[in-house]
């Protein structure tokens, strides 16, 4: 690829990201619930299930600290799902057809769409951190925070790819519940509420094999203890695996969309 071609692709990607970010300023009413929801869930779940830390074997004595990282991934998951819904809307309105007819390569269309999600997720996780720290959540350390933010951003892009796959498949905003339910299951069918040993029944088995559990544990490590490579690499591996699968499927969907 020539330098000019590369520059064109980067400019096109940035234009698509900027368009997605502009929506935040133009339709704030549509964004506010998605920004507030993870913080509401964090505070609500901590108030409701906070007494679980009294159970023997719980890894922290402050439930808010334990549940905050779940908010990171929840914010990422729902931002990704919202990206899918926005794409479905663009398909319904015919805007996406114009993008397909443009000289921008399919990879650029995907990158512009999903990278906007990894930037948008910074809003809910910033609010989570501000509220969490003001309510006494332990400081995760700079390394713990950097790992948590980067992994949440990457997970948002992965979730956005999943949203793109469904948007291209169903071509309607009516698929929104499927996108949200998928993220709900991915994030909460993990060790979200309690450590693996304290989960009960089927969830204990599902959480063990759900790759998002590894991502959650990597995001959580700085909040509940020290940051270690042993807790980081399984999360990175799970994230890379998930990302590879959804990127391949999303690219396949994009190629078919143009046929």
């Amino acid at each position: 690829m020539t330098t000019t071609g590369m520059a064109f692709e980067l400019r096109s990607t940035w234009a698509l990201i900027r368009r997605a970010l502009n929506e935040i300023a133009r339709v704030p009413a549509a964004v506010i619930p998605a920004v507030l929801a993870p913080t509401i869930f964090m505070c609500g779940l901590a108030a409701v299930f906070g007494s679980l830390t009294l159970l023997p074997g719980f890894t922290t004595d402050k439930y808010l600290t334990f549940i905050l990282p779940v908010g990171f991934l929840q914010g990422a998951g729902f931002t990704g799902a919202a990206t899918g819904v926005n794409l479905a809307r663009d398909i319904e309105l015919g805007w996406f057809d114009r993008l397909l007819a443009s000289p921008a390569p399919r990879g650029v269309l995907l990158a512009g769409t999903v990278l906007s999600a990894s930037m948008r997720v910074l809003m809910p996780i910033t609010l989570l951190m501000v509220v969490g720290l003001s309510l006494g959540v332990s400081w995760p350390g700079l390394d713990g925070l950097v790992i948590a933010v980067l992994m949440a951003s990457a997970f948002a892009a992965t979730a956005a790819c999943y949203g793109v796959i469904l948007a291209l498949k169903f071509k309607t905003q009516a698929a929104a519940p499927l996108m949200q339910a998928g993220m709900f299951v991915a994030v909460l069918f993990t060790t979200a509420y309690a450590p693996q040993e304290l989960l009960t029944g089927w969830l204990q088995h599902v959480a063990k094999y759900n790759p998002v559990t590894q991502i959650l544990e990597a995001v959580r490590q700085g909040f509940v203890g020290d940051v270690t490579w042993a807790d980081t690499w399984p999360g990175l591996l799970a994230l890379a695996g998930l990302a590879a699968v959804v990127v391949i499927l999303a690219m396949r969907g994009l190629r078919r969309a143009g046929d």
Partner: protein, 258 residues
């Protein structure tokens, strides 16, 4: 009178069909509360080992009331979105101009919300029984739960209708979803009031949703008690009264603008 009832029934049928045709309306009533029930039960199931936890057959029995409350409250919000869309596309204006009772469009929507509440009650009790829950008060308890769930759905339907009539905006109604969770988290819907952390514990003590949650839960985890059922009905009456007042204001506003 019979003619008006037929109009309300027809509008109610339309609203129920609408909910089943659009996954956006049905998902918050069935799919998300079911997933939340599954996660709460598997994730916090060991809570029954806490010393202050009331005696229950299992955590699923305790959680069923919370799932039904969540479902019926979200049915009210979904009704708000659907009614706001009807206002936006001019359907309500055509009904107001038609030779039918002015409040028919609201009553039709409330009937539909009640039917969805009943369906939700049947759904959660059925999956509860399939996955090992017990209804301690037997068939009578089953019926009491269904009646309370249906009435609660109608009560939240009035809140939803008021929201739609006063704002006329589906996005505003959509934005209410997180508030539903705030109200639920600050009640005894998902956990015993005595085990909630402050300030949720104090707020839950004053939240009418705690009355409804306890009234719904009572026949599932213990023998039927008139006191708890009446408490549940009182909670529903409080919600319905607030909704009805706001709804009447909204209808008047709509009629003045029509």
């Amino acid at each position: 009178m019979a003619g008006e009832a037929r109009v309300v029934a027809a509008l109610g049928r339309r609203s129920v069909r609408q909910a089943f045709r659009r996954p956006q309306f049905l998902a918050p009533i069935i799919v998300f509360p079911t997933l939340f029930l599954a996660v709460n039960t598997g994730g916090a199931g060991r809570a029954v080992d806490l010393p202050q936890f009331p005696p229950v057959h299992g955590f699923l029995d305790f959680q069923l009331a919370g799932a039904m409350l969540q479902s019926t409250m979200l049915a009210g919000v979904s009704a708000a979105i659907a009614l706001a869309l009807d206002i936006q596309i001019g359907f309500v204006d055509r009904l107001v101009a038609a030779p039918i009772a002015r409040a028919s469009f609201v009553l039709g929507r409330l009937v539909a919300t009640g039917v969805l509440g009943l369906i939700s009650g049947l759904w959660f009790l059925t999956i509860g029984l399939i996955f090992g829950a017990h209804i301690a008060a037997g068939v009578a308890g089953f019926v009491v739960v269904l009646v309370l769930v249906t009435l609660n759905a109608i009560a939240w339907g009035t809140i939803g209708a008021a929201l739609a009539l006063n704002t006329g905006s589906p996005s505003v109604a959509q934005g209410v979803f997180p508030i539903v969770f705030v109200i639920l988290f600050l009640s005894s819907a998902f956990f015993p009031e005595g085990l909630l952390l402050e300030p949720a514990k104090t707020i839950a003590n004053w939240n009418p949703m705690s009355l409804i949650a306890d009234g719904l839960r009572d026949p599932i985890i213990s023998d039927l008690s008139l006191d708890k059922t009446l408490e549940g009905l009182a909670g529903i009456a409080i919600v319905a009264s607030i909704g009805a007042i706001l709804c009447a204001r909204g209808v008047n506003k709509k009629l003045r603008s029509a």
